[in-house]
C-alpha cells in the first residue's frame, strides 16, 4: 500500500474513533463503517484500529472473525447471502444454492475471479413465511425459485 493511502486511511479511522468513542465498546461501529466503505477491513486498518483503541491487533481480528458481516479479506462487489436455516431449507433452498454455485462456478464462501460476486450462507433472515429467502447487498429477496434466483444473480454488475 502507498504511504499516502495509509495516511488517509489512518485519518479516516481516527475520525471514526473520535466519533464512536475511544473504547473497546465502539469496535462494532468503527469496523462496520470501514467494512461498509471498503468492503473489508485490511491488515493495516485492523492494526490502526487496535492502536487507536489501545488494544491488541489480534483482538480486533478475533472480533472480525466472530461476525459474518465483517471481513478481513477483500470481497466481491456484490454480496449474496443465501439462507441456510430450516424453513428455507424445507422449501428447496438447497437446490437453489446448488444452481447458483453452478451458475457462478464458485462454492459458498468464495468470490468469483472477476470479483463480481461473493457467495455466503446466512442463518435465518426472519423471512420464514416467504421462504426461501436471500440477502443481496443488504436487500432481501423472498419466495425464491431457481429461475428468479438466477435472474437476480445475473443482473448483478
Amino acid at each position: 500500500m502507498l504511504t499516502l493511502e495509509k495516511n488517509s486511511l489512518s485519518e479516516e479511522i481516527e475520525e471514526l474513533v473520535s466519533l464512536y468513542g475511544e473504547n473497546r465498546g465502539s469496535l462494532l461501529e468503527i469496523l462496520g463503517a470501514i467494512e461498509k466503505k471498503y468492503g473489508y477491513i485490511s491488515e493495516f486498518a485492523q492494526q490502526e484500529v487496535a492502536r487507536l483503541l489501545n488494544i491488541h491487533p489480534v483482538e480486533v481480528y478475533s472480533f472480525i472473525s466472530f461476525f459474518s458481516f465483517l471481513h478481513s479479506k477483500p470481497q466481491g462487489r456484490n454480496m449474496v447471502r443465501m439462507c441456510k436455516t430450516i424453513a428455507c431449507n424445507m422449501k428447496g433452498a438447497d437446490n437453489i444454492s446448488a444452481v447458483i454455485e453452478k451458475e457462478l462456478g464458485i462454492k459458498f464462501g468464495e468470490t468469483t475471479k472477476n470479483r463480481r460476486v461473493t457467495l455466503e450462507y446466512t442463518n435465518c433472515l426472519g423471512m420464514c413465511d416467504c421462504a426461501p429467502a436471500m440477502l443481496v447487498n443488504g436487500k432481501i429477496y423472498t419466495n425464491l425459485d431457481v429461475e428468479k434466483a438466477i435472474k437476480i444473480i445475473n443482473e448483478l454488475k
Partner: protein
C-alpha cells in the same frame, strides 16, 4: 484514556471481588456453608472451589488457573448447589450467602464425565507420542473419571498443521481444548497480546493476528503460555535431538552451562516437592549423560554484574560530571531476552535506556568460544555450547544474528528445564539419587550474587553489592548482605541506598541516594515504561526487569505446573543455596579477576569487552506485516 485505564478483561471475567468486611469475624465477614453435609465457615466472596480446596475436597478444573482471571468456560468443576436449577461452576461461584453444596452427586459425576467425553471427541492426539504424556491435565482427568473409550467418537485425522515457525514455542492446535488459558496468560498476565479465539462455533480455534505463523507476529517468546496450557497444544521447541547428536559425536567438545533457576526447579520433574536445589546432583547427571564440561552460568552472571555495574557508573559519571544529555538514565537491565524483545517491539524509542551488556548466557558462549578455546587449545569450530535455562526466550536469543561475536554461533542451543529433565530420564538417570559433584574449572567458581539472578530482584541485589562496594569501599549496609527491599514478589519494588564517604574516584556520587526499581512480568514492565514516559523515573538510576512473573524461576521452560506458592518455594531454594556460599559478591569471584587479568585486559567495558560481552538492539516496532 490512558493505557493503564484500558483493562482488557470484561468485568464478568475479572476475579470476583466482593467488598470484604475488615474484620473477619464482624458482620459480613464469614459465611457458614455446608459442603457435603459438613459445616464450614468461609470468608465472604470465597469461591466454591477455594472453599472446597481448603477443606481437602478435590474439584477437577481445566480452564481455571490460579495465576489467571476467572473464566468459567469448561464447566468441568460443576457442583450441585441446593436451590439452584442447574449445576454451578465452582471455580467462578463466589459464596455470598449460606449455601449447601454437594460435590459428588450422580448428576455432578455424570455431567463431568459428559464434558470429558465431549472434549475427547474433538481431541486429536495419542498420549504415548505426546510431549505432555504423564503431565497432562486432560489425560489425568480422563484417568480420574475412568474413561475407557471414545463415547462420542474421536478425531483421527489432524485438522490443523503444527506451527513450528517460532524457535521458541510450538503450537499444535489439534491438542487444544479451548480452555483459553493461553489467551489470558498472553493478554492479561503478560500484556503482549499474541493469542485470541478466532472464528466461532465448531470453527473456533486459538489463533494469532490473521492466523499468521507465530514467528511473524509479536511474540516475545516468554513461554508463559506453554507453562499454563493444560495439554500439549503449546510446548517449547526442543533441541535435544541435536544435542544428543553432538554428544554422540566424538569430534565435538560439548560444553553445558547451567543457570540457577533450572537447578532450583528440576527436582519437580522427578516428583520432588518444590523448594530444593539439585545443583550438585545435576552436575553428576550431566557428566554421565556425556557433556564434556559442566560450567556454572553464575560465573558469567558475575561478569555481567561487573560489566553492567561499570556501565552504570560510567553513565552516572557522564550525566553528573560531564552533563552529557545523550546518556540515558535510569539504566535498564538487559539479561531477560523476553523483556528485550518486548521493549524492541513496544517501546523502540527507549532502547538507549537498556544496558548494552549481554545476558550471562550469551557472555558465556562468547567467552567459551574465545578465551576457553584458546586456553584449552580446542578449535572453536568443534565446540558445541549448550545453555540449560528456565526460559524459552533464550532459544530466540541465541539465534539472534548478532550473537556471534566469537566468530561462531556463541551459544548453539538453549535447553529448558523440562527438556533437560527428559534427557536425564532418557539416559536412565534418577536425578535425586545422583552424588553431588562440583562444576568443572575454570568456570566453576561463582559467587552467590550470580546465583540470585534467578529470582526477581536478584540482578539488582547482586549489582548493588558490587556497585556500592566499588563506590564506597564498604559492604552494602544490609544484614548478611541480604538486600531485603529487592526480595519478594511485589509486582514493582522501589528502594534506595545512600552513597556516603565515597572513595576518591567516585566522589561525584557523594551523598546521592542511589534509587532502584525492580519489576517482573511484562505487564509490570509496561507499567514501568508508562512511568518512564510520564517522567516519573527521572530520579531513578537503575531498573531491573524480568519478563516472567517471579523472575527466571518462573520462566516459560520451568516445570509444569506453576503457581505463586511454587515460585515462592523456588525462590527460597535459591536464597538458601546462596546463603551457604563462601563468596557472595561478584567482584570477589577469583575467576572473574583472572579473566580480567589474562584476557579482558582493558578491564570492564573495555574494547574487547565491548566486542564480546556487549550487544546492540533492534528497533522492531509493533507493526505486523
Amino acid at each position: 484514556m490512558t493505557e493503564s485505564d484500558n483493562i482488557r478483561v470484561p468485568v464478568s471475567q475479572q476475579p470476583h471481588s466482593v467488598i470484604k468486611s475488615k474484620k473477619e469475624n464482624g458482620i459480613g465477614g464469614l459465611v457458614s456453608i455446608q459442603i457435603n453435609e459438613k459445616a464450614v465457615m468461609v470468608p465472604l466472596g470465597t469461591t466454591i472451589l477455594e472453599a472446597c480446596r481448603k477443606n481437602q475436597i478435590h474439584i477437577p478444573t481445566l480452564c481455571h488457573h490460579e495465576d489467571l482471571c476467572l473464566a468459567g468456560l469448561c464447566r468441568i468443576c460443576v457442583v450441585d448447589v441446593e436451590g439452584m436449577k442447574t449445576l454451578q461452576a465452582a471455580c467462578s461461584f463466589p459464596i455470598t450467602s449460606p449455601l449447601k453444596i454437594h460435590t459428588s452427586t450422580p448428576m455432578v459425576r455424570k455431567a463431568r464425565r459428559h464434558i470429558i467425553d465431549l472434549i475427547l471427541s474433538e481431541h486429536c492426539g495419542e498420549c504415548y507420542s505426546c510431549i505432555r504424556n504423564g503431565n497432562c491435565e486432560l489425560q489425568a482427568l480422563a484417568k480420574e473419571y475412568g474413561v475407557d473409550g471414545y463415547r462420542f467418537g474421536h478425531v483421527e485425522q489432524p485438522r490443523y498443521s503444527v506451527d513450528r515457525s517460532s524457535v521458541s514455542v510450538i503450537r499444535d492446535l489439534n491438542k487444544c481444548i479451548l480452555c483459553r488459558r493461553c489467551i489470558r496468560t498472553c493478554i492479561d498476565l503478560q500484556e503482549v497480546g499474541v493469542l485470541e479465539a478466532i472464528d466461532r462455533g465448531d470453527k473456533t480455534h486459538i489463533g494469532t493476528f490473521l492466523d499468521k505463523p507465530l514467528a511473524d507476529v509479536i511474540c516475545i517468546n516468554c513461554g508463559q503460555c506453554t507453562n499454563r496450557c493444560p495439554t500439549a497444544a503449546l510446548s517449547t521447541n526442543d533441541p535435544s535431538d541435536e544435542i544428543w547428536e553432538a554428544i554422540d559425536n566424538p569430534n565435538k567438545h560439548v560444553v553445558i552451562q547451567t543457570a540457577p533457576s533450572p537447578r532450583a526447579a528440576i527436582g519437580e520433574e522427578f516428583g520432588v516437592a518444590p523448594g530444593k536445589s539439585f545443583t550438585g546432583e545435576l552436575n553428576s547427571a550431566l557428566k554421565r549423560i556425556g557433556f564434556d564440561k559442566v560450567f556454572d552460568t553464575n560465573f558469567t552472571a558475575d561478569l555481567t554484574i561487573i560489566e553492567e555495574g561499570t556501565e552504570l557508573l560510567n553513565r552516572l559519571k557522564k550525566v553528573l560530571v560531564n552533563c552529557d544529555t545523550s546518556v540515558k538514565l535510569p539504566q535498564f537491565t538487559s539479561c531477560s531476552p523476553g523483556w528485550i524483545k518486548f521493549i524492541e517491539h513496544f517501546y523502540p524509542e527507549y532502547l538507549d535506556y537498556l544496558s548494552t551488556a549481554k545476558s550471562p548466557q550469551q557472555m558465556f558462549g562468547a567467552v567459551i568460544k574465545t578465551f576457553y578455546a584458546k586456553e584449552t587449545g580446542i578449535n572453536p569450530d568443534d565446540i558445541v555450547t549448550v545453555a540449560l535455562m528456565p526460559c524459552s526466550a533464550k532459544k530466540f536469543e541465541c539465534n539472534r544474528p548478532e550473537m556471534n561475536s566469537s566468530g561462531y554461533k556463541d551459544v548453539d542451543f538453549g535447553l529448558t528445564t523440562r527438556e533437560m529433565a527428559t534427557m536425564i530420564k532418557e539416559a536412565g538417570i534418577y536425578l535425586p539419587e545422583m552424588p553431588k559433584t562440583g562444576f568443572d574449572d575454570p568456570f566453576g567458581e561463582a559467587s552467590g550474587a550470580g546465583l540470585i539472578f534467578g529470582a526477581t530482584g536478584g540482578v539488582m541485589e547482586a549489582a548493588l553489592r558490587t556497585v556500592y562496594e566499588l563506590v564506597t569501599g564498604r559492604e552494602v549496609p544490609f544484614k548478611n548482605l541480604n538486600i531485603e527491599p529487592c526480595r519478594g514478589f511485589d509486582g514493582i519494588k522501589q528502594a534506595s541506598v545512600k552513597l556516603e564517604n565515597c572513595v576518591n574516584e567516585y566522589s561525584f556520587l557523594e551523598g546521592i541516594d542511589l534509587k532502584f526499581l525492580v519489576a517482573h512480568g511484562t505487564a509490570n514492565a509496561k507499567k514501568v515504561m508508562q512511568m518512564l514516559k510520564r517522567g516519573e523515573l527521572n530520579d531513578v538510576h537503575f531498573v531491573e526487569i524480568m519478563a516472567c512473573p517471579g523472575g527466571c524461576l518462573g520462566g516459560g521452560g520451568q516445570p509444569i505446573p506453576t503457581s505463586a506458592e511454587i515460585r515462592r518455594k523456588r525462590a527460597q531454594a535459591i536464597y538458601e543455596e546462596e546463603a551457604s556460599l563462601p563468596i557472595r559478591k561478584s567482584h570477589e569471584n577469583p575467576y572473574v579477576k583472572y579473566i580480567y587479568q589474562k584476557f579482558l585486559t582493558e578491564g570492564p567495558c573495555g574494547k574487547l569487552s565491548h566486542k564480546l560481552l556487549h550487544t546492540h538492539y533492534t528497533k522492531r516496532g509493533r507493526f505486523i506485516s
